[in-house]
Chain length 160, copies 2
């Protein structure tokens, strides 16, 4: 299939200079502040965004090289199919984080609950709308007895 | 910033041959069935995915050309900054849908609640994990009195 090319719309800034020791989900990054530096020519697209408490960031896991179809996730000690995990080392290494939007000044978004490494290329910003984005999921596979460990688990270099 | 290139990992099949008349979110597509045809060489990555009731699909809005920084969303009669909307015509036109996973046979995923046009290039599959993906959002901006209209609103050609 034909490749699709995306130009980053900005860059994500955070206190994390390396993947090692980082929170593995925004739920494990409560209170951690960062910013989005949107390319200034796109600032008109931010209109009305300040009305939202939470936004969805799509970004490139730019520190991952190549991919594995089977990975050992941070939260597990068994290997799992990569599409049943949130591991960065995936065929198209696109990450999603839902972060708090604290405020906007010009092309700078102040955000909180940031689980993203400093310098990450941003692909998209979407408003988080519970009516669209929440589901009553009755099965969460291998996460069943593990998703609650997310607050205490930190990343290491395994997906570099 | 340097462009990033992604090769689709498969294709999404649905009953929708055109954007016009389609549901605008999976919440408006209850019961509508479709499939994901994953590239067969990636099938090992599906291991353990059948344990999940819901999955997140990332895909290319391949029928959108170019973008607008200000758009009139399907749910509103006013113009809004594109990043405060879920409109397809965005700088990097990547879509997200959370769909029900009904079953997997080989490289074919049977899915439900499909709000995606037939032939859409798939970029990624992630498991939906409420612990990671749900937020108590206290502000939903211009959607406040409109998000519930999502079940009755259908798409038209405005974002082509």
């Amino acid at each position: 299939m034909k490749a699709i090319s995306y130009t980053p719309i900005g860059i994500i800034r955070s206190p994390f200079n390396a993947v090692e020791g980082m929170p593995i989900q925004s739920k494990g990054a409560e209170g951690i502040r960062g910013t989005v530096e949107l390319n200034p020519e796109l600032v008109a697209g931010l209109q009305d965004l300040d009305g939202f408490s939470h936004i969805i960031l799509l970004y490139s896991f730019h520190l991952s090289n190549g991919y594995s179809l089977v990975v050992k996730p941070f939260l597990d000690d068994r290997h799992r199919g990569v599409f049943s995990t949130r591991a960065p080392k995936r065929p198209n290494s696109i990450g999603i984080s839902i972060v708090k939007l604290v405020g906007i000044s010009g092309n700078i978004l102040h955000i909180e609950d940031v689980d993203i490494v400093d310098g990450t290329p941003l692909l998209d910003i979407k408003p988080f709308v519970p009516e669209f984005d929440m589901r009553r999921a009755d099965k969460i596979g291998w996460f069943a007895d593990k998703s609650r460990d997310v607050k205490d688990t930190r990343a290491d270099e395994r997906f570099k």
